[in-house]
Symmetry: C2
Subunit: 493 residues, 2 copies
Amino acid sequence: MFETAELGHKIDKEAFAAELPALRTALLDAQFELLKSKKFQVILLIGGVDGAGKGETVHALSEWLDPRHIEVHGVGAPTDEDCARPDMWRFWRVLPPRGKIGIFFGSWYTAPIVGRVLETETQAAFDQHLESINRFERMLADEGALVLKFWFHLSKKAQKKRLEKLEDDPRTRWRVTKQDWKNFKKYDHFKEVSARALRETNMAHAPWIVVEGQDERYRSLTVGKTILAALQARLATQGPATAPSAPAPVPAVDHINILDQVDLTEKTDKATYEARLEEAQGKLSTLLRRPEFKSRSLILAFEGWDAAGKGGAIRRVTAALDPRSYEITAVAAPTEEERLQPYLWRFWRKLPGHGRVGIFDRTWYGRVMVERVEGFCKETDWLRAYSEINDFEEQLVKSGAIVCKFFLHLSAEEQLRRFEERQGSDFKRFKITDEDWRNREKWPQYVQSVCDLVDRTSTEIAPWTLVSAEDKYTGRLQVLETIAKRLQQALGK
Amino acid sequence: MFETAELGHKIDKEAFAAELPALRTALLDAQFELLKSKKFQVILLIGGVDGAGKGETVHALSEWLDPRHIEVHGVGAPTDEDCARPDMWRFWRVLPPRGKIGIFFGSWYTAPIVGRVLETETQAAFDQHLESINRFERMLADEGALVLKFWFHLSKKAQKKRLEKLEDDPRTRWRVTKQDWKNFKKYDHFKEVSARALRETNMAHAPWIVVEGQDERYRSLTVGKTILAALQARLATQGPATAPSAPAPVPAVDHINILDQVDLTEKTDKATYEARLEEAQGKLSTLLRRPEFKSRSLILAFEGWDAAGKGGAIRRVTAALDPRSYEITAVAAPTEEERLQPYLWRFWRKLPGHGRVGIFDRTWYGRVMVERVEGFCKETDWLRAYSEINDFEEQLVKSGAIVCKFFLHLSAEEQLRRFEERQGSDFKRFKITDEDWRNREKWPQYVQSVCDLVDRTSTEIAPWTLVSAEDKYTGRLQVLETIAKRLQQALGK
């Protein structure tokens, strides 16, 4: 991996001076075209050996490009807001929007590589970590981002010389710390671990570019030209190269589907409802006050037919919660800022921290339901969404979240009855729109989309609950009691 | 203040049941109209005596209104991201956008009242705190927000009874903590302090509504009706009642203006420039690495004529910085989310934390320059902006920020020369737009706006530096050396 970066590459002053002006003009042109078109975002990762010129290269890029449309992020200690959410959240929250360039100086590779070098992470955990990075970068690339990963390399001898040289000069002495020399002792191990990381994550859609770090002119020219070529190539195409799509799901050939298995005849009488509701709410409220919940979070995802009672169920849940402890996100059309980001971004920004409850009234599953059925995204896009969503939920669960997903089911006849009732009611007439009537016409397509999402995203860590909502009391109890049960399991006796 | 809230107000069950349905329908209607029109946001503060039904009232509101468009915020311990910024930042960042309702359960009153009761805040500091709250709420109201502040009161006897009753019931016992009884011992002092707070901040544009907390039906009906009346009244009008505007500034009658005092004949030769630049950059870089800077931040605000060299000056600054330590905000047209907030919001969200540098290429002064000159906002709006901006900068400075503001000045002739040069250059042609040419025609109006902003916002804590930018070298040095000097003064020898 690193052999060609120990050859002593060099560019002399004249050659550099001859190439630079044209490169800068072309880079600026490309950046400006990117900014105007907002076609995609550029994500540059900068990693590698200490002293190999990472900082200098970022400096050069900020000088050559228009720095107002570049965001440079260092990886410092996570803040307490970072710590209360999935590991990747600190990166999710600062992803550049389409049109901009984000430079990550240190990145999602830093923690696993350092962890493995210091042996706080096992080999198996390390490999899993890399695999989840691969999936994340695949998603970024599929969402259109241009991802380029630069690794600055120095041979052991060269690194030693470089550190000594920095130390000798009084103007640069401050840059060499004791930690740098400590790290140097681990050079071989670091090289081995990073070689493995690079090999496992070197993908066509997110390639590693290893750059020999010894000669400043060589390395900055290499980086500049690489970025320029990639930018120009992507600006000239329509979008990301779409991978061949997974085969589209086929409706069950025997016409048995999971939604039909939901027993819609269940009924609950008022007295039973009230007694069980109070009990479930009491349980929920007690569980959420348990000290164990302070390092967990609760994520409630609600989907379902229009008028199936999502709102009513959510109110019965919130009635049991401290009003300061939750946030309800009602999913509407994405805002301008959200449209410039991957589709999951608008959910990332709404994730509850530890000790809190995030309620989503419609969710990230819109991608594989309404966007699929209405053709708002391409088939390849919703087909890849299933595994992207599974990855996302895995991250949530790893960060301590308890994820409950509900689909509220009722019959088309009951829906019609409720629509008509709503139109006659003062309280509820605002809840019904022309779109609701139009959606009814696509009932079978939506049924298919629900069956597919249960198939593909009802995981052991974040299972779907299909709620029998034909009878409102029955539906609400199922929701409340499921949440209480899941919480109880998660927090222990 | 509290006398009428100790009268034993009460609503019986029948009267309540008779009133409630109509109130709920009307509240929902008003909320829906608000949501559709996005005319303003509603900010509800909930404060008062423990056990007076604050939580229950917020619960009732979440039940009566559509909870998906309400955001409830509690005031817990500030996160480390909060602590690195102005005290008010934690509220700024969660202000509801126009169309939504934000409920602050505990609010910007909590810290000063608690501080005063525990005597960690002096009387003078307390009064200053209230005064700055007044100015903040004035700004919110002027920006169109509907601000209603509810104070839930209980007489001392009633509070004691209430706490005892909660403790007697096993289902509510958990709600009474030792801290509540400790607080109860301070009842009289708390009452006195809060009476003063309420008196000093009871404004027509942000009134306090004191509610007797003893009877649940009385208090929730009072709150519901108050909100409804205020909502309906505001929905029926065009906008906030605009206060009579301050008199517009008058051009100096002797035609002497501050910009003319800037010596545009200064010149720096290349050798001097390079030597002084390197020295200033070195100083800057050393100062920012000082441990004292870890609890400070640096905010650089750049304004100036088109082509005066803001970009060039910024590059010379960033060349001295760690690329991970700063963020440049290039002010463009506000996004959809930003347009639903007070005009300062888009700057609030970009404030650097401690140890960091925030660079603004064009700033919050747009309000009193381009928006004023082009008529993008009303005269009353830009006239009030001067003091709002002074308040904002005071908050920045209080939080540890060092605020440097630059206006880069040049002559109209030199600007023309640069425009023409830019149009001929590969590198720079993208920098010049039709708008730049149009702005030139309004030179005198812009001169007036600059003179006025120096008059009104060049404060001892955040002074303006008028930069002689006719000669680029001279201008850049002045910027760099001013920053280094201000930093040196702030961090000490």
